[in-house]
């Protein structure tokens, strides 16, 4: 699979570590970590990732605000909301702000791999 550039944004070190370990095991090497929405927005400007995984409930800037900024700066970056807070209201907000997927925690790595596979295919076809 294409070695995609991925930003993992969650205020929980445990969640970032588990995702990073699982994706590293699957051969992804270009992984970047952010602990809040502000860092995720800044990382996206600097690293131009293919995909951002965003938690919703975070300090400083929450995931939905970060989603809005990331998409405003670069609409081609795929953004997946990966949160325990999969309420109807949040799902609606995320869709309106341009989220590409919404995964309910606990996150199954297979779900992320499916998304990465699709992005990889799209990138390879260009």
């Amino acid at each position: 699979m294409y070695d995609l550039r991925i930003v993992l944004c969650d205020d929980s070190m445990l969640v970032r570590k588990k995702l990073k370990d699982a994706l590293t095991d699957k051969g992804f090497t270009q992984l970047f970590e952010a602990v809040d929405g502000e860092q995720a927005v800044a990382l996206c400007l600097k690293e131009n990732p293919d995909l951002v995984l965003l938690d919703i409930t975070m300090p400083k800037m929450d995931g939905l605000e970060a989603l809005q900024e990331i998409k405003m700066n670069n609409p081609s970056i795929k953004v997946v909301i990966a949160s325990s807070l999969g309420t109807q209201a949040n799902l609606m907000k995320a869709i309106k702000l341009g989220a590409d997927n919404f995964l309910q925690k606990p996150i199954e790595i297979e779900a992320i791999l499916d998304i990465l596979h699709k992005i990889s295919k799209q990138r390879g076809e260009r």
Binding site: S12, M13, V15, P59, T87
Partner: protein, 302 residues
């Protein structure tokens, strides 16, 4: 899922000692539930009949079912039904207690019936619990604690039990305690849940000793966490966050949209909350014990 509650009942009633219950809870995972226990649970055979079949088995080389049919205790089609039935966890606990000679078939049958009666559970409710619907049982316990009418709280506690079982420890039990004005603990993980318009917030807390937090973190992170550092803080905080998120999704499905703030995990804090503590629940696992503290969640949607 039912077993820990049935076990708790047996323990509270003095029918088994703590060490015996612990032994049976560990043993139940490797236990094959036998026809006698299955038949007693369905009410299709009495304990005396099961004992009689076992006694007969010592004199003849025949299976339990064959003898039970021959003695006229049960019909063949019911034996067939028992053979294909998926045994529930509480039966594995019962079988473990019997196999370890902590209880006889008669003791088990009596305790099971007594338990059903004392909790005022209908057969349908009992079936629901056996099949994993612990909400029914918790409601029965909450009636005793005098807080059963609070559906927001009942939902919160039953979901917490389910999430504990799903993510931490399948052998937990929960003791619903009384309200208290204040509480201090070595460590606290806290998270505020907010009303839809953000005007009201209510606190949820996991409080416990450092040892309890380390064990909880190890179980949730599925790796050994032996120091009170970043991983412990992240794991306990994330578990509370995950649970509260699932609770908010659950409430959302019922038409109540709530929000929540990022979780905080602090050492040596005394609980300070704007709203009174609604209930304190002691959560007891195989390797830890901690408190779940909940304020008045029903006010978030009032």
């Amino acid at each position: 899922m039912f077993s820990q509650y049935f076990g708790q009942y047996l323990f509270n009633q003095g029918l088994v000692k703590a060490s015996e219950l612990e032994r049976a809870l560990i043993a139940q995972n490797d236990i094959r539930v036998k026809l006698g226990v299955l038949a007693i649970n369905r009410g299709w055979m009495t304990a005396e009949q099961v004992d009689a079949v076992h006694h007969a088995q010592t004199r003849m080389d025949k299976r339990f079912g064959e003898i039970a049919i021959e003695l006229g205790f049960i019909e063949e089609h019911l034996i067939e039904e028992l053979l294909i039935a998926q045994p529930s966890a509480h039966l594995a606990l019962g079988q473990a207690l019997i196999d370890h000679e902590i209880m006889s078939y008669e003791d088990f049958a009596q305790a099971l019936n007594q338990y059903k009666q004392e909790n005022s559970l209908s057969d349908e409710q009992f079936h629901a619990i056996v099949n994993g619907d612990i909400k029914v049982l918790l409601e029965a316990e909450l009636v005793n604690a005098g807080i059963s009418g609070d559906s927001a709280l009942v939902d919160y506690i039953s979901l917490f039990a389910k999430n504990m079982i799903r993510f931490i420890d399948s052998g937990i039990r929960m003791e619903i305690g009384h309200t208290s004005d204040s509480l201090s603990a070595e460590w606290m993980a806290q998270q505020l849940i907010q009303s839809e318009n953000y005007s009201i917030d209510r606190l949820t807390v996991i409080a416990g000793s450092e040892q309890a937090f380390l064990r909880l973190a190890s179980k949730y992170a599925q790796e050994n966490v032996d120091t009170a550092g970043e991983m412990m803080v992240a794991a306990v905080g994330e578990f509370l966050n995950l649970h509260n998120g699932i609770y908010l999704v659950h409430r959302s499905n019922q038409g109540a949209e709530l929000n929540m703030l990022p979780q905080m995990v602090k050492r040596g804090s005394e609980l300070i909350t704007d709203s009174p503590i609604k209930t304190i629940i002691q959560v007891i696992g195989s390797e830890f014990s901690f408190y779940l503290i909940v304020t008045n969640l029903s006010e978030l949607t009032s």
